[in-house]
Every structure is written in structure tokens, then in C-alpha cells.
Symmetry: C2
Subunit: 333 residues, 2 copies
């Protein structure tokens, strides 16, 4: 993981460089070929939640989404790592209810809301975290919808369940290679491994999907459109995915993943991007994806919602500015 | 920071290595000489809260602590990054009150308690975080006590304030070299930079202090004794410093610092240790200090409170074991 990792970001405290992050970045063009790379494109990675739009492909390509009458907003939620704000929890609850399902059918596990007002309200009311608030509840609502469509059993996160087999098939299709294995994700679903260049290629498959007519491509194009149309559903207020999608000069679908992952899909160019901070740091992945998108002209470095991820200020407990994060010079020049 | 960094720890998710941490470790003997090192001993670092026992030296060496009637427990709190549990907040409040001071004199800034029961209780009661709960409030009570002793002005965190000048002098004395500069810490006090080998040397100065009779050495020995006698005051229930100090086979003073710092003081051997995770990850610093202390025979790797930092299990939202952190093989063999 650390072999040949390239500098991504530096943490400065006053005049002293305090910490630094390295990792791997791959940019793939509309043919899926690597056009730019920092670090080692052959590194095997777990894309974690950055693979959610891949995991949602069978939901749409199978016809399950249309059979269930899902709207574009639901497709965005299926690709989301949402913050568990009221709007997210309510939308997933209604989705499940319309399918004759409930929170009890979810297997993602409970998570406290990352929306501070709701989290505090729940603590005040003595309520405990719910599965609806889990950042993956939209993905799991999608899994359940596909499960019903396939008339498969309720343990939909088991690696040999038809839902997960179809997720793996879609993953191998868009990455263009067999997956060497999987880990179990925070939400209990299998998360398939691949190489960094294959993950960037997968994102370029999504970025060019609107040019093709096969079922998987039509599904991919609809998911990309949904993410771009509903940035708030994909993450939440103040979150990198939401803010950077809104700030972009051209349509872009962005998706974070645990342990320092980030991907970008640029449908006007057919470009796919994958970022992995080798140490798993979110702050490094956010800084690096912002830097690469600035380099490509997709983001304006002066836009305040870009600057807060590209060069975030570090403030201390009294609110004093005591440091900053700087992207590695190589990413910008 | 990343130049010549050595592997510290790997994050595994099932059969897939997901992330990895590198950094710098230096072990200094009773003469202050480097006996073992991983990574680059000449790396300039900010030791952050791992320098608290150094920052507390002038409080004791000046006679301020004795003039104020401080007990050993107060000295432990002056070196602490405590979790803001009721016992910590109460002890600091009483300390300030006995000095004719109050929370309003602190300049560390407010911080939510890291003690979950208290944090939830405060949210339920509509209370906001206080400066007493700041993990550095004991250090700041020490600064204030020294400030009174020196009859100096109230802005005791200013870099040119007598309290901070004496902290810098003590820092340069025990590290054996001039500091190249400082950053402003999370608690607004200056945090002085030095090299990794100089920080390990400083810890060996503390580890051998009980053998010497000069005022600074007597102060250092008292601080080490206080930390070892009051491990709960130094951090809190469930915290690495507290649990590893309690689990050790011989007396050891341990102190974490922000951005992946950790130090150890072994008074029976005269050994000092400094650890810095280059990327700033606490999980890596905790794993690495545990590994080095296991290697030295100070910690038993089978002890459950050692294993939880040496090889922590990663559990997901449903409580399933989905991965683990492994120390780099080089640290143990």
C-alpha cells in the first residue's frame, strides 16, 4: 500500500510541516486507459463506499428499480453515503414502506446521525441510533429492492446471495477484471477489491455510459445523472461530495469512501478518477480529489467550497487559525 | 516527514491489506544516545501533547507547585491529556478555586467531554462544552499557577510570556538543542519543534532524572512519579496511556500527542522513546508504541489491554469483526 505512494497533502502548523499523506491517484480517459497517475496504479485497493454506484448497477440494469417505481432521487440515495439527516432517513423510510419493508429488514447496522441537530435531539430524547440513519441505508434499500425483484432470501449481504453475486459481476464488468477478493464493509456487505487503474477505468465506464445503449450502460448513465441531480441526497450539507459537485464548472459525480477513497466521474469528458490515501485519511483524499479537479479545470480553486477542501484551515479550540492542509505541489502543476 | 519513514502498522479488512501507516521511532538510552531507530531520527517534529511533562517542568522546578501546595495528583493532571470525565473537570476546578482563579482565566478553549456519559448528560441538559473539559485544562492550571508565582500578566499562552519562555527553555534543556520554531497548539499554547532523536533524548532525561539532584532533574523525577502513580488522571478509562501504564510489567510513564505522537519514559532502565506517525494517525502511534514496548519486554502482548492497541480488532456497525490493525513486523522482531 505504501510502496511507491506519491505525496498527496501536507499538514502545516504555523511554519512547521507536522504530518504528510501519500497515496495513489489514477485518471482514466474515455477508453479506460490511464492518462495520468501519481503513485502506483497497480495497487490493490478496497474502494469502500466509492463503489456504491457500481453496487447499484444491478438494481437498475435488472429492471428492479423501474418495477418498484423508484424515482431519480432514490437512485441518488442508492449511491449515497448520506449523513443521516432527517431528509435522508425519511426518504429511505418511505422507500422501504412503499416496498412493504421496514427498518427491521435492513442489515446495515445502526449509526448515529452525522447531522448535529438531529443527533443532539435524539440524545435529548433518549433515542438510540437507527439503521435508517446509517450512511449506507439508501444502498441497502436498493439491495432490498433488488432482493424482492429476484425473489431471493432475506440475508442479502451474504457474499453468495444473488444480490451480492450480481454486485460482484457488475464490479468485475466495469473494472474489466476479476476481483481478487473482498472485505466486509462497515455496513456488512462485501466490498470487492481491485487495482487502482481498474477502479479509474470503472469510473470512465460510468462517465461514457450515456454514449452506449446496452442495459448496464443505460443503468450507469441513469445513476450518474441521479447523483448529479441530487447532490444533497448523495452526502449532506457541508459534506465534500455535495459541496464539490455543486461548485463544479461542469457536471461531475463525486463519491467518497472510507479509509481515504474518492472517485470522480466526468460525463462531458468521459474521464474517470480514483484517489486512495494510503493511510486511510479522509482529509488527504478530499484535498487530493479537489486538487486533481482544479488541475483539470473542473473546480475553481478560489471558490470557497473548493478552498475548504483544497487548502483547509486548521482552527484550534479557541477558533484561532493555527495551520492548514496543502495539496502536494505535484498534483496541481 | 515522509522521507525515509518506516512501516508502523497495516490495516487489514478480511484478507485485503487496506491501508498502511509509516513514521519514525527513536529509542534513547540512559545517556540520551540513540540505541534503536525506525525511520529518520533527524526528522523535525511537533511533539504536541507528548511534550506536556516538559511544559510542566518550570511549574515544579521554579518552586511554584510547592508554594501553591499542589499534590502529586495535580502534577499528573498538569501532564495530562485527560478525557474530560467528571473526575478531571472537578479536580481542575478545585485546583483553580484554591488559587483564587476560575474557568474564565483559562485560555485553552472549550472542548466537549470525551466521557460519553457526561457528554450525553450535558447535551440532555442543554449545556455547552467548557474549558475545564478541555483535555489540556490541567496543563493550563499549571501554567496559571506558574504565572501567579512569577507575578506575570494573564496572557500566559503568548510566546513571549514568561511562562512560555520558561517552557521553551526547559524544552531546549531536555532536548539538548535549540528549537527551530513552534506551532500554536490546539489549546493555544506554543508547541516547540525538535528532532525525533532529541525528543527521545528528552524522554531519557526524564527516565534518569531520579538519579540526579539538580532542580530540573528533581522536578522531572516528580512528574514521572506522578504520572505513574495517577494513570487515570493522565488520560481516562479506556484510553491508551492509562491502560498501557496499568498493564506494564515495570513502571512506565506514557503520553500521547495529537497527530500521531507517543512517548514513553522507562525510569528503571533510563530509556526514553518517541513515536511519530508521519500521517498523524493515532491508531498507528498507539499500535507502534505498544509494539516497541512489547519488543522491550515492558508489555505482555497477550494482556487484553495491550492487545487492544497492539492488534486491535475492527468491528463494523453490526458489531461484526471485519478487520484488524497489525504492527509492522520490523517493530517486533
Amino acid at each position: 500500500m505504501l510502496s511507491n505512494a506519491a505525496p498527496l497533502a501536507e499538514i502545516w502548523r504555523g511554519p512547521i510541516p507536522e504530518s504528510a499523506h501519500a497515496g495513489h491517484i489514477v485518471v482514466a480517459d474515455e477508453t479506460g486507459a490511464v492518462t495520468q497517475a501519481w503513485g502506483a496504479p497497480e495497487t490493490v485497493v478496497l474502494p469502500r463506499s466509492s463503489a456504491k454506484m457500481i453496487q447499484a448497477l444491478p438494481l437498475v440494469a435488472s429492471g428492479a428499480a423501474d418495477a418498484a417505481g423508484l424515482a431519480e432521487r432514490h437512485l441518488a440515495l442508492a449511491c449515497a453515503s448520506h449523513e443521516g439527516a432527517p431528509l435522508h432517513a425519511r426518504a429511505v423510510a418511505e422507500w422501504l414502506d412503499a416496498r412493504g419493508l421496514s427498518e427491521a429488514d435492513l442489515l446495515c447496522g445502526p449509526e448515529p446521525s452525522r447531522d448535529k441537530a438531529l443527533r443532539f435531539e435524539m440524545i435529548r430524547d433518549g433515542e438510540t441510533p437507527t439503521q435508517l440513519l446509517n450512511n449506507c441505508s439508501g444502498k441497502h434499500a436498493g439491495f432490498l429492492t433488488l432482493m424482492q425483484h429476484l425473489r431471493a432470501g432475506p440475508d442479502y449481504v451474504a457474499p453468495d446471495h444473488p444480490v451480492q453475486i450480481s454486485a460482484r459481476d457488475a464490479f468485475e464488468e466495469v473494472t474489466g477484471r476479476d476481483s481478487p477478493g473482498f472485505g466486509i464493509d462497515g455496513c456488512s456487505a462485501p466490498n470487492f477489491a481491485t487495482k487502482m487503474d481498474a477502479m479509474a477505468r470503472a469510473m470512465s465506464v460510468f462517465a461514457t455510459a450515456h454514449r452506449r445503449e446496452d442495459a448496464l450502460s443505460r443503468a450507469a448513465a441513469r445513476l450518474v445523472e441521479a447523483m448529479i441531480a441530487y447532490p444533497l441526497e448523495v452526502a449532506g450539507e457541508g459534506r465534500a461530495c455535495t459541496l464539490l459537485m455543486r461548485a463544479a464548472r461542469e457536471p461531475v459525480a463525486l463519491k467518497t469512501g472510507a479509509e481515504g477513497f474518492f472517485v470522480a466521474i466526468l460525463p462531458e469528458r468521459g474521464t474517470g478518477i480514483a484517489v486512495k490515501a494510503a493511510d486511510g485519511a479522509t482529509r488527504a483524499a478530499e484535498c487530493a480529489i479537489a486538487a486533481v479537479l482544479v488541475r483539470l479545470g473542473v473546480l475553481d480553486p478560489e471558490h470557497p467550497d473548493v478552498a475548504r477542501f483544497l487548502r483547509p484551515e486548521i482552527r484550534n479550540r479557541r477558533g484561532l487559525s493555527v495551520g492548514r492542509i496543502e495539496p502536494a505541489a505535484d498534483l496541481l502543476s
